[in-house]
């Protein structure tokens, strides 16, 4: 606890992220109003006049939509990062085990995947299998695979040069066993830090995809689509464009702070 108080960045990141998760979870059981319930009489009401944050063009409560949006955004990002991190870490550790031409090929492959922005792969996917959460998750996860593969390869390679690993090799332990006993536990901190930071990036990407209509379909509220819908009413109801963007920025900021704070705590050597 005292550790935490001495690290304001970590503390702030933790508080914001926890708040985000709590709001997202709360939205599953309670929102001030049903988020997709239209109430034309109260359309385009500014904040505090109707509900906490006003209403949109159909009279839907903005605060409620933001809460459900938090869940939609966070769950999509979590799923995508979980898939990307799992596959990427597996690839990275296996390559670190084998090295040689396998490494060359896999790293080139990473360069190639990294060259296709997730927005474009989501468009390609969207044309064929339609847009939706599945498309968004696959597009973001695909982009995350090279990120984690590169990170784990670089980290694992360092551990493989350590004396205790050489000793384990000398004792005749299999490479797979060494990977599980020595390599993975030693690089897990770096992976955790990266997961946190990539979660922020995934939320940003998901927002962009939803803005373009490549995310979850209506009537599910997403932060990105709320921004897209707000564009028609920028003059009449600027708060509609303000709130979802603020939610995205705060969420990403919180996750970035948490990631950097965790890095300071868990992996002090690599602090820039």
């Amino acid at each position: 606890m005292r550790q935490l108080l001495r690290r304001p960045v970590l503390l702030a990141g933790l508080v914001v992220t926890l708040f985000l998760f709590l709001v997202a979870l709360l939205s599953l059981v309670w929102t001030p109003y049903p988020p997709s319930k239209m109430n034309i009489v109260h359309k385009l009401k500014p904040p505090f006049e109707f509900g906490l944050l006003g209403t949109d063009q159909f009279g839907r409560d903005v605060a409620s939509a933001l809460m459900v949006g938090a869940w939609n955004s966070l769950s999509t990002a979590l799923l995508a990062v979980a898939i990307g991190a799992t596959i990427g870490t597996a690839v990275g550790t296996v390559v670190a085990m084998r090295r040689g031409w396998v490494e060359q090929i896999v790293m080139r492959g990473c360069d190639i995947i990294f060259a296709v922005p997730p927005i474009l792969s989501a468009m390609m996917l969207g044309a064929f299998i339609g847009s939706g959460r599945f498309t968004a998750v696959i597009a973001i996860a695909t982009f995350m695979v090279p990120v984690f593969a590169r990170l784990t390869l670089a980290a694992a390679r360092q551990i493989w040069t350590r004396d205790y690993v050489a000793a384990a090799v000398g004792m005749g332990r299999s490479k797979l066993k060494i990977t599980f006993v020595h390599i993975l536990p030693n690089i897990s901190n770096q992976i955790i830090v990266q997961v946190t930071i990539q979660l922020g990036l995934a939320i940003l990407t998901e927002a962009g995809l939803s803005y373009l209509g490549l995310g979850m379909p209506p009537p599910n509220p997403t932060w990105g689509r709320m921004l897209a819908d707000s564009q028609t009413f920028l003059g009449q109801a600027p708060w509609l464009a303000l709130m979802p963007g603020l939610a995205i920025a705060i969420a990403v900021l919180g996750l970035n702070m948490l990631g950097d704070g965790l890095r300071d705590l868990l992996d002090p050597r690599s602090t820039p």
């Binding site: 080139r108 296709v116 474009l120 920028l234």
Partner: protein, 316 residues
């Protein structure tokens, strides 16, 4: 040096070929019949069959890939179904918007980031450093397309200084064109500037403790001169690298920002091709963007060799 260059170029060509193959195969593997996607669900079987033949879909995959690749080499990217014009011309036309936009954004972000980063490093741990650090940290978390929306509210709706979007075309004059691209470029530049400021600051701090900077100061060069003559040029290497690494995000941002401001650029073309199910256009635009990212990173790699002679030996 020459052998390194040749090896890099060969590797670039292989990478580009693999990317093109990957995009082609992925588009082919995805479920759904391209002809049906183009024509919609109400098309008769005869029309579908005719279009499939016209698109060459009755040919095996390798034949189609090679034919497409051969076309791309000759500058023939195929025909757009919705626009009824060659895709190559379409891309070239849209590039006249996207290229200046991206260039303006990169120049702006560097123009903001380098002075701020250098100044912050010079007075590091001071008040200025803290403020710059906080602002750049926050700007990284802000989506570029939201900055675009906010700037429309502020500069178009409230103040009425700028157009809320659209592009008059370069025929309307250089100034009108640049004015239409100004807000979108700012929206794209701000998050990038946040990243670059942090990189520039860290790089200058690193370099300032190097021996040659200390020597420069020892031989009587003023603090400012030592900084700008020796520290800054060296600190530019990581900044340039970061621009290369961020290029994917710049393109993703451009796709979004072009849609926010209704600019007829390449990103908007990609989006429209999705809405219109124009698969040929989409395939070409995705290939074009990906190739652009790869080539930019290749150039950054080359620039490295030019900037930093130490890297010319012992290349992997």
């Amino acid at each position: 040096m020459i052998s390194i260059l040749i090896r890099r170029i060969l590797s670039l060509i292989v990478t580009l070929l693999v990317v093109s193959l990957l995009i082609f195969v992925v588009m082919d593997l995805l479920p759904g019949d391209p002809a049906a996607i183009v024509l919609g669900t109400s098309a008769s079987p005869e029309t579908l069959a005719a279009l499939r033949t016209q698109m060459g879909l009755d040919q095996p995959l390798p034949v189609r890939y090679l034919a497409w690749l051969w076309g791309v080499f000759q500058g023939d990217f195929g025909q757009s179904y919705t626009y009824g014009v060659p895709v190559a011309g379409l891309i070239a036309e849209r590039l006249t918007v996207t290229l200046p936009l991206a260039l303006m954004a990169v120049l702006m972000s560097v123009g903001i980031a380098v002075p701020l980063g250098v100044q912050a490093a010079k007075k590091h741990n001071g008040m200025f450093d803290a403020v710059v650090g906080a602002v750049s940290y926050v700007s990284i978390a802000v989506p570029a397309f939201w900055v675009g929306l906010l700037s429309i509210i502020l500069f178009s709706t409230l103040l009425g200084w700028m157009p809320a979007g659209g592009f008059p075309g370069w025929d309307a004059g250089l100034l009108a064109g640049l004015q239409a691209l100004l807000l979108p470029a700012i929206a794209l530049a701000l998050p990038q500037a946040g990243v670059l400021t942090r990189v520039a600051r860290a790089a200058v701090l690193d370099v300032m403790n190097e021996d040659y900077v200390r020597t420069a100061r020892a031989k009587g060069l003023g603090e400012g001169a030592a900084l700008w003559r020796h520290a800054v040029p060296n600190a530019l290497v990581p900044v340039v690298t970061m621009i290369g690494m961020q290029f994917t995000f710049l393109i993703a941002g451009a796709v979004l920002v072009e849609n926010v401001f209704n600019l007829p650029g390449l990103g908007r073309l990609a989006y429209q091709s999705l809405a219109q199910r124009d698969i040929v256009v989409m395939q070409d635009v995705v290939l074009f963007f990906s190739a652009l990212v790869i080539v930019v990173n290749f150039l950054v790699d080359l620039l490295y060799l030019v900037i930093d002679p130490r890297l010319r030996v012992g290349v992997r």
